[in-house]
Symmetry: C2
Subunit: 163 residues, 2 copies
């Protein structure tokens, strides 16, 4: 039942994109991501929550190489949807722990967060799956973050892999 | 390079938990999830974004069976952190498409969102990985959602699996 963390992955070719205050109604996610897809933009993480309001923020990550085009597309979409600002941060990096059986081991994500907290690194975005916990952090911290995770999960540096 | 969607997974034993207005500073994610882990609470999705504010909302999903204890823990944590309300919605269900190679195929998530949009189903939470796109929707829509995804991705009903 134990989660086995087998590696730490990181990616610095990452930009965090937020379209603020998109309408929280059917069809909006489809609108945004079909328009990005049609332009050939690869989207990595899509992270969205909501509350009992009529709007929410849509956050996703793309390659830094696509930032200029993503901004164009996102601003056009935001205008059509009557959404708010488009915020793009190309100084973030993605760090992940990769393994198996995370759901049955509640402490694993907490341990990753502990490692980052001990380094005083702020976690900007979190997204999880059964085999991966991914965080966006400031790129300047990526080396320390990766080292801290290797120590926390007792992994050899050689197991680190490109995300 | 094509994303192959091999199945649709759904789970109705799901509760969506939001701790609103948690401080956006190092150590907060660790605080929340270590306290849940120590109580033996299995957390499935963790979904968090942020903006240039000092606070953000922490959203995660747990089993409905744990709702009473999760509320207790989350409210205690919220108090200690000086956070806002704890919102729990136990009328949500999780629906996912499962496959491979999603990052290299930008249209896959968009197609899932299209299927849900065509059914007029609102997407409350989105979380992605390379092999899975998961959404939280109202439980009342779960059957239609699963059927729509099977049709959209041309899967036999028999391939549907418990999340
Ligand atoms: C915000 C977005 O996800 C919207 N709720 C939709 O269903 O498309
Ligand atoms: C909100 C929470 O993720 C916080 N930013 C942390 O680093 O713990």
């Amino acid at each position: 039942k134990d989660m086995l963390v087998v590696g730490v992955a990181h990616d610095t070719n990452v930009a965090k994109v937020a379209i603020l205050s998109v309408p929280d109604r059917p069809g909006v996610a489809y609108n945004i991501f079909s328009r990005l897809a049609v332009e050939g933009i690869n989207v990595d993480m899509i992270v969205q929550t909501n509350k009992e309001l009529n709007v929410t923020d849509m956050v996703f990550s793309t390659s830094r190489d696509d930032v200029v085009r993503v901004r164009e597309i996102a601003e056009a979409v935001a205008q059509d949807l009557g959404a708010g600002d488009v915020l793009i941060d190309d100084t973030v990096a993605k760090i992940s722990i990769v393994g198996a059986g995370m759901v049955s081991n509640p402490g694993v994500a907490a341990r990753m967060f502990e490692a980052l907290a001990e380094e005083d690194i702020n976690i900007q975005v979190i997204s999880t799956s059964e085999i991966k916990v991914s965080c966006l952090i400031a790129e300047e911290h990526i080396k320390r973050a990766a080292q801290a995770l290797h120590r926390k999960f007792q992994l050899d540096a050689v197991k680190s892999m490109e995300a």
